[in-house]
């Protein structure tokens, strides 16, 4: 028999989670679709469900020393209209899902769901986001890149909740978020792309690329990025094909109902080329 519980407050949520049997339901935009069966019957869940949508104390955005703190239940829609949120994240959220889903969906939910095609994950990886994971007895802050380990897989413990997402302060001369999907709204990406670059005089001071839906988890490669840093802008553009070639073996998409591996790979590499040559 599965137990369903509405968290009374954040402490109550941690208490319930400490029993080790609960699955958290925040916005529900993934879980309610994945588990749905027949109309007019309750949606079946395999484990106990903890409903946390009413925990308003987890809805906040605040500027802290060195980072922007985002409470785990802050909706995509609220982030989209908050000017403190980095442009590249808002550019992503503007073309993610629809207004109705953006009101329920959260960054923390995207992380917990750990889909290789999660759009916001591309940006979290791009911006070196950190996650604050909390349980009744412990708090730990770890880089997003260490949280998601594969499709649907994370290091988040059964007794833990994502409490907060932190975006380290960073400034760029140009950022982009692009996606290719079946239609403009409500599309799960065939390929998603985030790019960020900073120049110091004519030299590349920072260079980051992050791709979604082309590998088991968000693809970013700091080794390739390091090779681009220090080049002049002209040198970088002249070496566009070499940079694309360096990413080619890392781009390992699958074929599924949304797209096929060959198309995804070609589009992903074209996006990398387009980003570099457009700078």
């Amino acid at each position: 028999m599965v137990t369903h519980h509405i968290a009374k407050d954040y402490q109550d949520a941690l208490e319930k989670l400490s029993e080790g049997t609960y699955r958290i339901l925040a916005g529900g935009t993934d879980l309610m679709v994945r588990n749905r069966r027949l109309s007019e019957t309750p949606v079946p869940f395999a484990s106990d469900v903890l409903y946390i949508h009413n925990l308003d104390e987890l809805r906040y955005v605040s500027e802290e020393k060195g980072h922007l703190a985002i409470g785990a239940l802050t909706s995509y829609e609220d982030l989209l209209h908050d000017e403190r949120v980095p442009t590249v994240l808002r550019d992503c959220l503007r073309i993610l899902a629809s207004p109705a889903i953006r009101k329920m969906g959260t960054l923390a939910g995207n992380i917990g769901n750990a889909s290789p095609a999660g759009d916001s994950l591309v940006v979290l990886r791009l911006l070196d986001a950190q996650c604050v994971l909390e349980s009744k007895d412990s708090t730990r802050t770890i880089p997003y890149k260490e949280v998601v380990t594969g499709p649907g897989k994370t290091v988040i413990g059964k007794r833990e909740i994502i409490k907060e997402i932190r975006l380290p302060e960073a400034s760029f001369d140009k950022t982009v978020f692009w996606k290719v999907g079946g239609r403009k709204a409500d599309a799960i990406s065939k390929v998603a792309f985030g790019g960020a670059v900073k120049f110091s005089d004519e030299n590349v001071a920072d260079f980051r690329l992050s791709l979604g839906a082309v590998a088991p988890k968000t693809l970013r490669d700091e080794d390739v990025e390091r090779g681009v840093k220090g080049k002049t802008k002209t040198e970088m553009k002249d070496s566009a094909e070499e940079i694309v070639a360096a990413y080619a073996p890392l781009v390992r998409p699958i074929s599924d109902q949304r797209s096929n591996a060959a198309y995804r790979k070609e589009v992903a590499l074209n996006m990398i080329r387009q980003f570099i040559t457009s700078l």
């Binding site: 949606v43 949508h53 207004p99 109705a100």
Partner: protein
């Protein structure tokens, strides 16, 4: 089963139902509010749209457990307002209603948009309606209707 209390169309309401029941079913089966339709059942079509705390959400993706203490307005509640009458007149005038299945959701989407952005551009109207599918009109009439509502309803939003 559990008792969940929330505000429904301005009145405090308690429902006794499983927390994992879709709110769409709570409205249609428990409260007999059938203005909300089930189209796709997975958040893509918007036929089940309601206002949760003043913003459009898909009631097919919303479990009852998420509604505790919240404010819900359905198309039946919104129907009692001057804003509804303005949107209704505009939809009729522009021919934005054909088979009618998407219409309650479209009206909720229009209200949610105008509440947060009383003077939207054409592009913003299309984004505001982007989670609602219509297989009859081709959308242009609906966009025109929302535009007409913003003009004739000046000051309402």
């Amino acid at each position: 089963m559990a008792e969940v209390t929330f505000t429904l169309n301005g009145e405090r309401t308690t429902v006794d139902a499983p927390l994992n029941m879709r709110f769409l079913d709570v409205l249609r089966v428990k409260k007999n509010l059938t203005g909300q339709k089930e189209g796709c059942g997975e958040g893509e079509c918007g036929a089940c749209a309601i206002l949760l705390d003043g913003h459009i959400v898909n009631s097919c993706l919303l479990p009852l457990g998420s509604v505790s203490g919240r404010d819900v307005v359905t198309i039946e509640g919104f129907k009692q307002t001057e804003r509804f009458r303005t949107i209704q007149e505009a939809f009729v005038h522009e021919g934005a209603v054909q088979c009618g299945i998407c219409t309650p959701g479209m009206v909720i989407a229009a209200e949610s948009l105008l509440r947060h952005n009383p003077r939207p551009t054409d592009e913003e109207i299309r984004i505001g309606l982007s989670g609602n599918l219509c297989r009859c009109t081709g959308y242009n009439m609906i966009v025109a209707a929302v535009k007409r509502a913003t003009k004739r309803g000046e000051g309402l939003w």
